[in-house]
Amino acid sequence: MAATTSLGPRALLASLRVTILQFLADPQWIIGSAAAPVVFALAAFEIYRFSSPELVLFAILGGGMMSMWAQTLYGSGWAIGQDRFLGTLEPTLGAPVDYIWVVGGRVIWNTVSGLLGGAVVVGVVALAYGRPLPIHDPLLFTLLFVLVMLALSTVGLLFTAIFVYSRYAGFVQNIGEFTFYVITGCMFPILILPSWTRPFSLAFPATWALEALRAATFTPYQGLSWGVQGDLLGTLVLSLAYIVVSIGLYRRVVHYLSDTGGGSSDDY
């Protein structure tokens, strides 16, 4: 039998594969989850459409971020929720591999589908605007856009662990959704928030990634940005921290499940 340590990456790929197969078996649900943010972003765009191109871009970005975040939250709830719902949690926990690898595969898929959703939002609104947006460096813009989603994924990983304590899942999901819009400054500049919210914003890797994106896009940009490079470093450090905390948290979660017998409940 293979050493259990080498099982992780294989389990991650297996989980990703099954997630994609499940998606392909029933791809239509994505229309619903992608449509809502588009509508939302179009509405926001209507408000800003006669402002400066910078403001329009700001609104578009906000819409894209909201879409990605909604996907992350939904996805991380479902990452463990599906195993509860299907009754596959116990068979999976009974396997000789850390559950975090299985979740990891699903988080990767969420990242990809979140990016697609975000790109669709940006694309649709940019089309509706019908004029070129002030993106000076499309390549950098794209890379940073992807980075935001990667940063969001580490948050998703952490949130999934929290969702295990299932009775609070819905609560966390609702609070989380709207908190994000506020603390990352999706819809209005982060600077107009009261200063006590700042630590919350800064504790969130996606804020840094988003600030990097904005700093690179809007010149001059007034936000929390420490310059693109500083923001990148912040994103990296915080994302790693989230992964490390997640690993520890998953150990606790699995212990919690075997301690309470909660692995069998399906009350996602």
Binding site: M1, A2, T4, S6, L7, R10, A11, L13, A14, S15, R17, V18, L21, Q22, A25, D26, L86, G87, T88, E90, P91, T92, L93, G94, A95, P96, V97, V102, R167, S258, D259, T260, G261, G263, S264, D266
Partner: protein, 326 residues
């Protein structure tokens, strides 16, 4: 004697659930109250008991899904609480039922996923999957979505997953529940084949005939305690006889029941009522009390019907559970 495949000592398990708006109210359920159990390698051991007895709880503890609240459980010499990761590749678990499978993908894909999780060597994986699909008779349905499967097919797929990584020991929780008689028989055959291949099996069941047909030894669990543990024949002796006499009439008088009870060789009498009729069930040993002696003891009652049959494990089980309830 070699080391036992399963060794359970004084295992207790309490579930704590919370109620109320703020989950402030604690409710404790004692599912296992000091269980001792040994299963030998190569054995097919049956764990019986009524609903809520704690069978699933014990199986989950032994398969590392649940921690015992106290006591120790060793499987294949490994403490389930201390080293679950080392144990998992060596055991298989079938919790069964309608759930527990990825419905939107095929049976083969389900198995491929779990083969990866269990580290079935990549080189031999496809062959191994085809083989277990064949073993359980799902070759033709292998590439259909699981959501199209019947209950029996799902159960077979559960078993296929359980044996996929070639475990030394299999835990089967109610492997034939919900199956029609033919599928249940197929499943029992599959289980026997596993044992013939040297796999140790611990199964739980509600069906006494099933345990009787399959198991060398059984334990009866009731309210979290093992109330009996023996071979099927031994259990029959335990409740006083391998023959059962059923005596039916439109009501018995207390004096009559006392007279029957006093007869030599009657170890116990169970009284049941159905409709206007009353039935006394007597357990008697081979060579003990016969039909004629009972008829004589009930002199003058021509409408009495007396039947003799072999004591089944079902009888034993009901006696034990009833005893526990009193």
């Amino acid at each position: 004697m070699s080391e036992p495949a399963v060794e359970v000592r004084q295992v207790r398990r309490t579930y704590t659930s919370r109620k109320g708006f703020f989950f402030q109210e604690k409710v404790e359920t004692e599912a296992l109250r000091g269980v001792d159990l040994q299963v030998q390698p190569g054995e097919l051991f049956g764990l019986l008991g009524p609903n809520g007895a704690g069978k699933t709880t014990l199986v989950k503890i032994l398969s590392t899904l649940l921690l015992p609240t106290s006591g120790t459980a060793k499987v294949l010499g490994i403490d389930v609480a201390e080293d679950p990761r080392r144990l998992r590749p060596r055991i298989g678990l079938v919790l069964g039922g309608e759930r527990g499978l990825y419905n939107r993908i095929s049976a083969r894909e389900n198995l491929r996923y779990f083969a990866d999780l269990y580290g079935v060597p990549a080189a031999t994986q496809a062959g191994r999957i085809s083989k277990v699909l064949d073993t359980v008779g799902l070759t033709e349905a292998a590439d259909r979505r699981v959501e199209e499967f019947s209950r029996g097919m799902k159960q077979k797929l559960h078993l296929a997953r359980g044996i996929l990584h070639d475990p030394e020991l299999l835990f089967l929780d109610e492997p034939t529940i919900g199956l029609d008689p033919k599928s249940a028989r197929d499943m029992r055959k599959l289980i026997r084949d596993q044992v013939a291949n040297g796999v140790t099996v611990l199964l739980t069941s509600h069906y006494m005939f099933e345990a009787e047909e399959l198991c060398q030894r059984v334990a009866v669990l009731s309210k979290g305690r093992i109330v009996a543990r023996d071979t099927v024949a031994g259990l029959r002796r335990l409740v006083g006889g391998d023959r059962t006499l059923e005596v039916e009439a439109y009501g018995f008088e207390d004096a009559e029941v006392r007279r029957l009870r006093a007869l030599a060789g009657v170890s116990r009498i169970v009284t049941e009522e159905f409709g206007p009729k009353q039935r006394l069930t007597l357990r008697v040993p081979t060579g003990g009390l016969g039909v004629e002696e009972v008829r004589a003891a009930l002199k003058g009652r021509s409408e009495v019907e007396i039947r003799e049959r072999r004591t089944t494990l079902e009888d034993v089980y009901l006696d034990l559970v009833e005893e526990e309830a009193n």
